[in-house]
């Protein structure tokens, strides 16, 4: 096995993993406040990317104006979801709320391609395609930047959770009724979480959209993100970071080492196997909080 290739794959895997982790972090953010897995996270990424494309290509804004504006709009949109839909689901069974987000996912997958065109759209961040070489080691510029941005945002959200607001968010996720009873504005906490999460989704949507183009298939990022969030432990942002890197690395190396042997795309299977094994030994993910059950 070629060491340089392995190194290339490893570096690549780590950074791609960070990019996945960013979407997963959005899922964690929402889970931490409302105990639900947001199945519309991928669709939010798609929506964010669409908004950027609309602003940039449709309205002719420079990309560096369009992105912050889209992020702001998406924050509002995330908060609006809470106001319109989730508010009425407080205290209802979690699984039903998850189903609601599946409905939202379907809705978004209809609205954006429906109104703004289903064809793939270009999203050009102006990152040149020319490769970077460190000696013989090839580095993918777009992925380095994407991974870097993701890492920065994830670290920021870790800081955010170490504040008093973080305690309040955790209280809300623990017990919404009790939170209400001591004056926590549960709705607002959830709205902020959704807003932030939509912001993160938008960033990921832009990063991925720059490579693959913008269309409905961005919403498929959900599955990978969910897997990473759960591997990390659903309510741990640090967990997401670690899990993202693990999955990214494993997938990247699997494609390099296993694929040629098996003759098939082993990426998802390897990731699945890792998740399955981890859950066997750590039923709450790598860093997730355990389930407290006092007998």
């Amino acid at each position: 096995m070629d060491m340089i290739l392995l190194a290339e794959l490893a570096v690549n895997g780590v950074f791609v993993g960070l990019m996945y982790a960013l979407i997963a972090a959005g899922i964690v953010l929402i889970y931490k406040t409302s105990g639900i897995a947001n199945m519309a996270q991928g669709a939010l990424a798609m929506t964010g990317a669409y908004v950027v494309v609309i602003l940039a290509s449709g309205l002719g804004m420079p990309i560096w104006v369009a992105i912050p504006l889209a992020i702001a709009l998406m924050f509002a949109f995330g908060a609006a979801i809470e106001r319109v839909a989730l508010r009425r689901m407080i205290g209802q069974p979690v699984i039903m709320v998850i189903m609601l987000t599946i409905g939202l996912e379907i809705l978004l997958r209809g609205v954006l391609p429906g109104f703004f065109g289903a064809a793939v759209k270009r999203l050009n961040l102006g990152i040149p395609n020319t490769p970077i070489f460190l000696g013989e080691l090839f580095l993918n510029r777009a992925i380095l930047i994407g991974g870097g941005v993701s890492l920065a945002l994830i670290l920021l959200s870790i800081l955010f959770f170490n504040s008093r607001f973080g305690i309040i968010m955790r209280a809300v996720s623990d017990n919404q009724t009790a939170s209400w009873s001591v004056g926590i504005k549960v709705e607002r906490a959830i709205a902020v979480a959704w807003g932030l999460s939509a912001t993160m989704a938008t960033t990921s949507g832009v990063l991925w959209g720059a490579t693959q183009g913008v269309d409905w298939s961005l919403s498929l990022l959900l599955i990978k993100a969910l897997a990473i969030a759960i591997l990390g432990g659903l309510d741990s942002i640090v967990g997401v970071l670690v899990a993202g890197i693990i999955v990214g690395l494993a997938e990247s190396l699997a494609t390099g080492i296993l694929d040629p042997i098996v003759g098939g795309g082993t990426r998802d299977v390897v990731a699945s196997a890792i998740i399955l094994l981890t859950l066997l030994f750590r039923p709450h993910g790598l860093f997730g909080r355990e389930h407290i059950e006092r007998v």
């Binding site: 069974p93 998850i98 599946i102 409905g103 209809g110 429906g114 969910l226 759960i230």
Partner: protein
């Protein structure tokens, strides 16, 4: 009003334990069942073949999943794979000459055997973590089916179902598959209805609600969770065989992908966890809302000559479908079955507003 019942008086426990205590309910069920029996002679074959038949088959799957989700409280995101295992196992055995009746069982057992391996592994984890573990199962099974042409049926990855008979009746044409599916579905429905009033179902529910409390009553939580996995996977596997024989006739790996799993989970949840009626309602909504909305939209577009762009026209049903799911859950977060119950309760106490 006709629903109304003022004070029930049963003199035997047996009567009180009937599946439907109200005569009105019993009549409704009987009429619906007779209508289903007569359907192929009453309505256009299109509706039998592409509405009633899938409704029945998907309901079987959703019931199997509901036993696990609603009955034992375990989320399963790999049920599509379970069905796939059943379908492939049974079709391969039928191609090898095994009769359909036996192939059904083989499909069930194969699915249950694989299902229970993952189940045993997955049972250490709860809730969404379990969802993930079963999702992993989905991917792994998918991978195996696709990577082994011996399973998937060569490079064309299509496996056709031979002509078979079910207790002497050839399962061909439009009607026979419908009746075969209806018969199996009826048996399954009876099973599901009975689950709630037998010790088996109660033990499952106990484990679902509070496994530690169940254990001090003598219910082994692990065993019952596994049992739930076993039975539910068995049903899924059997349904896979029915799906292959009565509906698809050619099976290919993509029929059993994650999409199917998610679709089934959606059916169970939207219908209402643990409710048998809810299963049928949920399947109806999830399976047919897209089709019907599509037809409504194109009908509307043609009628009123609306010049809506193709993209919009194609995606409008999707939007409405998503909105419909959200809408129903916002109106009644416990699912369609609960909506039905609310309406029914309203009439049960009518003309009064409150039960007490």
């Amino acid at each position: 009003m006709f629903f109304r019942k003022a004070g029930i008086s049963f003199t035997r426990y047996q009567d009180e334990r009937q599946l439907w205590r109200l005569p009105a309910d019993r009549w409704t069920i009987a009429v619906i069942f007779l209508l289903l029996l007569a359907a192929p002679f009453l309505i256009d074959r299109l509706y039998v073949i592409s509405y009633l038949l899938p409704l029945i088959i998907w309901s079987m799957a959703a019931m199997g999943l509901n036993l696990l989700m609603g009955g034992a409280g375990q989320i399963h995101l790999g049920y599509g794979a379970v069905i796939g295992i059943g379908a492939y196992a049974s079709v391969h055995s039928m191609r090898a000459g095994v009769p359909f009746e036996l192939a059904l069982i083989i499909g069930g057992v194969a699915a249950a055997a694989v299902g229970i391996i993952f189940g045993a592994a997955a049972l250490r984890v709860k809730g969404l973590y379990l969802a993930m573990a079963t999702l992993a199962m989905q991917y792994i099974v998918d991978f195996v089916i696709v990577q082994f042409p011996a399973i998937s049926g060569g490079s064309q990855a299509a496996l056709s179902v031979p002509n078979v008979t079910f207790f002497g009746i050839p399962v061909q044409g439009d009607r026979a598959p419908y009746y075969v599916a209806l018969a199996i579905c009826t048996v399954l429905t009876v099973f599901m209805l009975n689950v709630r009033r037998t010790s088996f179902g109660r033990a499952l529910a106990a484990v679902r609600e509070k496994d530690y409390a169940a254990s001090i009553i003598g219910v082994d939580p692990f065993r019952y969770k596994l049992l739930a996995f076993w039975v539910s996977s068995f049903i899924g596997g059997m349904m896979g065989a029915v799906l292959a024989v009565c509906y698809y006739r050619t099976i290919s790996p993509d029929q059993f992908h994650l999409d199917l799993s998610i679709q089934l989970v959606a059916m169970v949840i939207v219908g209402g966890l643990g409710s048998v009626l809810g299963v049928f309602l949920g399947v109806g909504l999830i399976l047919f809302a897209p089709i019907i909305l599509n037809q409504l939209i194109s009908w509307g577009a043609d009628q009123f000559g609306l010049a809506i762009p193709m993209d919009l026209r194609a995606h409008l049903p999707l939007m409405l479908y998503g909105a419909l799911i959200m809408g129903f859950l916002l109106v009644e977060p416990l699912g369609l079955a609960k909506i039905y119950n609310n309406i029914r309760n309203y009439f049960l106490v009518w003309p009064f507003r409150h039960a007490r």
